[in-house]
């Protein structure tokens, strides 16, 4: 008896969904092993995580807060991965977006600027800076054939140092790796700001950024499904030679995609400083840009699914804050990713147990 892996001719519609749910459950089970080894009761830890992430009074709002950068950066990763451009530097692009946003909020526009103008300028700056940071690996890939996996990741480390220079140097306030807080005109509106009108919103910190995420997801969905550009992404991602044969301009599309990918990650950073942190600081992101990769992959590069998966992972982060040590969410994310890739295999292939050929030879 042996195992055989054969390609599936048709994939039932329910299979991808079921396989992902099973992958998630499996990942939690596997994750329990290192948790137990690290001296935690996995079931207590998971219950704590899920309760804090999803079932406490403020869970919905808190989880939305964490989900916002995950969704925006996850969409950025999605568009790049769609054409098999491995932009894994979303974290760096996110930092650059936050940096430019901070420049606008604190230094480049007066605090008296009307709120709408201020937020619009911050949005543009955040997008543009992330886009620029994404464009670099894009241009290097399109024009010189430089591996974008390495270049986008190296630029992330550069972005960390770049950010450090500003928060410890010219923009430092107090010398602890922080800038001064933003003026109120540079704050995203939050639910709690409407607490007087709707008492239930009091203390809820979910902010405008989540709407950015939803709108971006819908726009991307429309682009992917209905536009010429979305069609080009699909063909280039599947078979670059066929795309060239069809007359598509690969290098222009690569650069454009990386610009938008980086821009969306930049918006993630923008919304985080404008909506949550209200200043720039050294480690304002707990690796949103990296988690975004998992979010995108788990959502099977479907922008609407990114919203759902982003929310789930937001809950995981909120819940993960409630348990120690800090590496647990990252570990579980890694295991989830492994389980999801494995599950992918079972949607593309079928496993068969093959009985050996009945031996009739009599010699």
């Amino acid at each position: 008896m042996r195992l055989k892996i054969e390609p599936r001719l048709e994939t039932p519609r329910w299979l991808p969904f079921v396989s992902i749910v099973l992958a998630l459950i499996l990942a939690l089970l596997i994750g329990a092993i290192p948790l137990a080894y690290g001296g935690l009761d996995p079931f207590v830890a998971y219950r704590q995580m899920f309760r804090t992430g999803f079932f406490e009074p403020y869970s919905f709002s808190d989880t939305l807060v964490k989900a916002t950068p995950l969704i925006l950066a996850g969409l950025g990763v999605t568009i790049a991965f769609r054409m098999r451009l491995w932009n894994i530097g979303a974290e760096g692009q996110l930092f650059l977006g936050a940096w430019a946003t901070t420049g606008v909020a604190l230094f480049w526009l007066p605090p008296t600027t009307p709120k709408v103008v201020m937020l619009a300028a911050m949005t543009l700056a955040g997008f543009a800076a992330g886009a620029l940071w994404g464009a670099i690996p894009g241009v290097l890939k399109a024009k010189l054939g430089v591996n974008e996996i390495i270049s986008s990741l190296m630029l992330t480390y550069v972005a960390f140092e770049f950010n450090n220079y500003f928060v410890y140097g010219p923009w430092a306030a107090g010398g602890f790796g922080l800038t001064a807080p933003f003026p109120r005109t540079a704050w995203f509106p939050r639910l709690t700001d409407f607490g007087d009108a709707v008492p239930a919103f009091r203390g809820m910190t979910a902010h405008l950024g989540i709407l950015y995420g939803v709108v971006a997801a819908v726009i991307l969905f429309i682009i992917f499904k209905y536009s010429k550009w979305g069609y080009e992404l699909k063909v280039i991602g599947d078979n670059p030679d066929a795309a060239r044969y069809a007359g598509m301009n690969l290098s222009r599309t690569i650069i454009m995609t990386m610009i938008i990918s980086g821009g969306l990650a930049g918006l993630a950073g923008m919304s985080e400083v404008a909506g949550v942190v209200h200043r720039l600081q050294e480690n304002f992101s707990p690796g949103y840009g990296f988690t975004a990769i998992i979010v995108a992959w788990l959502a099977r590069l479907n922008p609407l699914a990114v919203i759902v998966v982003g929310y789930l992972f937001g809950g995981l982060l909120v819940g993960g804050d409630a348990i120690q040590p800090a590496g647990i969410p990252l570990l579980i994310q890694g295991i989830i990713l492994f389980c999801v890739i494995s599950a992918d295999t079972f949607t593309r292939y079928r496993l068969r147990i093959v009985q050996p050929v009945a031996s009739t030879a009599t010699n």
Binding site: L35, M154, V158, P325, L330, G334, I341
Partner: protein, 323 residues
């Protein structure tokens, strides 16, 4: 004065470049077999923690190194299973390995963060170098006289790896499964098993790289202490054009670059280097140089028409074309 400075930089390159050399050689071997493993960073961290933990509990750094190598190899099998048996996406699987390695070491490494007196791998003193006329005391001894034993292991591994790949029959099979697995399969070479083996070897090398960090170069354990070196190693493989000798050169250059910010602080005529705020710009150097190296090597690859192993990153399925 300038000579001393230069010697210092080169010496630092040899010392800090050695872990990078191990990681690069490991990834090079794995890629020559046709498997792309982006999990080097994670495997190094696993090696670094395993080595550190075992060395501090047994008191013997060599047992630590051994366990680190096995741990690196063991965790690499996750990637082997997903990418070879399940034919999953190798890029994403490698990323997942890095996540797992980083998260796992952070969870399991917490008790070791405080330990400062881990038994270290020893330095091999070569006092006779000082007696060599002319260049002995000024160049040879400062460069090689007090290197850690890992430096010499690295120096020996490069020709060994080269010999294995280019001059032996297992090496011939290694190259064949990376270039055209179908051809190897057709004459009875077990492509899947060999790819498992070489992914494991890559993991063992990455584990060694991690242990040489935590037991020799910076003998302590901190979260994410590799600081992107695993990724630089992946870039160096491309820079090296999949050639072990060029990997040696690349690793030492990058070792020197990583140390540069510290070394430059000692230079009197570069006052800004000792300014910690301006110093962060210097911290960018290794990352920017990795990108520059990739630009350089991709242009060279176009000119010389060199390239990656033809089957790199492609799962081998018997009977499918193009494999």
């Amino acid at each position: 004065m300038e000579l001393v400075f230069l010697i210092n930089i080169i010496e630092a390159g040899l010392r800090t470049g050695t872990p990078l050399l191990f990681a690069t050689l490991g990834e090079l071997i794995t890629e020559r077999a046709g498997v792309l493993n982006l999990g080097v960073e994670g495997m190094m961290l696993v090696g670094a923690l395993a080595g550190f933990a075992v060395a501090s509990s047994t008191g013997n750094p060599w047992i630590g190194v051994l366990v680190a190598m096995l741990a690196g190899g063991a965790i690499s099998l996750l990637h082997a299973f997903v990418s070879i048996t399940l034919r999953g996406d190798q890029v994403v699987s490698g990323l997942a390995l890095t996540f797992v390695g980083t998260g796992l070491t952070s969870v399991l490494g917490a008790p070791y963060v405080q330990i400062r007196d881990v038994p270290r791998l020893s330095v091999v003193p070569l006092p006779f170098l000082e007696n060599i006329p002319l260049i002995g005391s000024s160049i040879l001894y400062p460069l090689f006289g007090e290197q850690n034993i890992i430096f010499f292991i690295g120096l020996l591994l490069v020709p060994a790896v080269w010999f294995w790949i280019e001059r032996t029959r297992p090496g011939l099979q290694l190259r064949a499964i990376g270039e055209k697995p179908a051809a190897a399969d057709a004459v009875g070479v077990n492509v899947g098993a060999l790819r498992y083996f070489y992914v494991f070897v890559g993991g063992v090398f990455a584990g060694l790289a991690g242990a040489s960090l935590s037991l020799a170069v910076t003998p302590l354990w901190i979260d994410e202490m590799t600081a992107g070196q695993g990724w630089i190693a992946v870039g160096l493989v491309i820079f090296a054009g999949w050639n072990p000798w060029r990997a040696l050169m690349g690793a030492y250059i990058f070792g020197a670059l990583r140390r540069m910010p510290l070394d430059l602080q000692a230079v009197a005529w570069l006052p800004f280097a000792s300014n910690p705020i301006l110093g962060v710009w210097l911290n960018m150097i290794p990352y920017l140089f990795t990108i520059l190296a990739l630009i350089f090597s991709s242009r060279e690859a176009i000119r010389k028409r060199l390239g990656a192993p033809a089957a790199l990153g492609i799962p081998y399925v018997r009977g499918e074309r193009g494999a």
